[in-house]
């Protein structure tokens, strides 16, 4: 039947799926939705548990620096004197994660380029095996290693950074305590994140379309200029994706940070000073001897960490989407 414009009505395009297709579709849909469901359940659990605390503290939960539980004589919680604020922990988590990425991403990209374009095959196989093993290493081992081996030398590097870049606000030193600082924790995290970012970057780099690589070589490119003109633009969004996975691990890492970081309830932006925070590590620190109310507060902290990770990931995705596509 012709519509008002004189053009025929657009037809509905349908197809009858085959039975096997329906079954398969059901299976993959279940798989896809179950991970979403799991995430939703965790979120709901944290929100339910932490709600009363968030309601009590409101914004001061993320802006306050006090964490104390005061009970009155009858054993109930003394609302006037009890305070739950995780600002130092949030700042610490963000600082450590930033340090981790600043160290890890350049190292990983270089390592991935070396493995993809420069390493002799035998060395490449060996290094790839090592890196994959590193990705699966228990994090407490990184923590112990960081505490006993890295800390002394990191102290030396921290002093150098302070000496030459002390003008940079984050490298200021008010109290000369160089151990157990966010810097040390960030470096430990970087070492944990490097395998992840390296192996993802390596995979994207290796997928660079051969015809573009050849086009560059045929124009007289050296290997390095080929990499700059073809491989890096192609791999950029993949590297960002890898860095996001790494960031996720860095922000959520608990035990390794707990081992090397001095957790202090005071916001500290000076990364070289031995006082920092971490939401995840704080939860670990407090959980063992927490009373009912404090556990709820810890759940609320978990919820905030969850949301922070979500926000950071969405921002990164938006950046990739905006700049991406071009190099592909």
């Amino acid at each position: 039947m012709p519509s008002a414009t004189g053009l025929p009505q657009r037809r509905e395009l349908t197809t009858k799926p085959r039975f096997s297709d329906k079954v398969f579709r059901g299976i993959v849909t279940t798989g896809g939705l179950s991970s979403l469901l799991l995430l939703g359940l965790i979120f709901a659990f944290l929100a339910y548990q932490g709600f009363s605390i968030l309601k009590m503290e409101k914004f001061s939960f993320i802006t306050g620096s006090q964490w104390q539980v005061v009970l009155n004589d009858s054993g109930a919680i003394d609302k006037a004197n009890t305070a739950f604020g995780i600002a130092p922990m949030l700042v610490g988590t963000i600082l450590c994660a930033i340090i981790a990425l600043v160290v890890a991403v350049p190292v990983s990209v270089l390592a991935a380029l070396f493995l993809t374009f420069y390493a002799p095959p035998a060395l490449k196989r060996f290094l790839v095996a090592i890196i994959d093993l590193m990705a699966a290493f228990p994090s407490i081992l990184f923590g112990l290693w960081g505490f006993f081996i890295l800390m002394p030398s990191a102290e030396y590097w921290a002093k150098l950074l302070h000496k030459y870049f002390g003008w940079f606000p984050a490298f200021k030193m008010e109290v000369p305590i160089f151990t157990r600082s966010p810097f040390v924790a960030g470096v430990v995290l970087a070492i944990m994140v490097i395998p992840i970012v390296t192996s993802i970057s390596r995979e994207v780099f290796a997928q660079t379309p051969l015809d573009r690589v050849q086009a560059a070589y045929a124009l007289g490119a050296s290997r390095w200029s080929m990499i700059r003109a073809v491989v890096l633009p192609y791999g950029r969004s993949g590297v960002v994706g890898g860095a996001m996975l790494g960031l996720g691990r860095a922000m959520g890492e608990t035990v390794a940070v707990y081992t090397v970081l001095n957790i202090v309830y005071q916001v500290n932006w000076h990364v070289l000073v031995g006082a920092g925070g971490s939401v995840a590590s704080m939860i670990l620190l407090k959980f063992g001897e927490a009373g009912a109310q404090e556990v709820k507060a810890l759940m609320a902290a978990g919820l905030v960490l969850f949301l922070l990770t979500l926000i950071v990931n969405s921002i990164a995705n938006a950046i990739v989407a905006k700049s991406g596509g071009k190099g592909r």
Partner: protein, 291 residues
Amino acid sequence: MVNPEEGEKDMSTVTPSSLSSVASASGKVRTPGTTALGVGLEARGIHAWFGQKHVLNDISLDFWSGTVTALIGPSGCGKSTFIRTLNRMHEFIPGAAMAGQVLLDGKDIYESGTDVTKIRLKVGMVFQKPNPFPSMTIAENVLAGLKLAQLKVENKDDLLEECLERAGLWSEVKDRLSAYGGSLSGGQQQRLCIARSLAVRPQVLLMDEPCSALDPGSTLRIEETISQLSSSMTIIIVTHNMQQAARVSDYTAFFLSDGGPGSMVEVGPTGEIFSRPKDKRTENYVTGRFG
């Protein structure tokens, strides 16, 4: 496919200008491989292997400066492999090996201590599938070679216009030089790739089936481009299209593989290869009886 009469008629109407001028200058049509006068590129006893597989057997062929040489032959006879030995792109494939010499200005490009990147600047290449850099604009694509090889030029805008003009693309893109290379049609992309190889001013241009993925209109444009370029450089083109070989080339070499490594059956002026081939196999191929 072309039948002999038609092929000949085609030849008489589209005789490449350079061929006729050379013919009148020397009194007779020169055959490649005689004297080295004006030779752009010389292949001497080229063999090629992929791992254990011997794919090219003893190819010797001279390419004259200012002429177009077409390489024809059935699929898998080693045309691409041969052309890739001429700018050292062959060794790019793992396990690839070669023997023989390729002389550019009388100097072996495989001599130890040669800077491969310099060779590839002098011997440019256009691939079968258009492969502009998608992260670069049209202008950046054309000038990519300068950046990749770290060359300096006085006036980039002039070079840009000149190369796009020579590739027959200027009028179509001059108003959108900052659009991305991937936004062009296939035929335009291929001409962009030609412009890109011209920007580094190669002496020799290798083209491996440059029109096989293109529509007839774009093919025609590229053939015109080839004819214009041929006066100033050495062009070697692989093609599956007999008419195209007849239209654009001065010389034609016929390659064939009988299951073993590919070898060259015959080479000569294009007119002769298409009208009076010496070898029966060449005749069968150009008349479309096989391949």
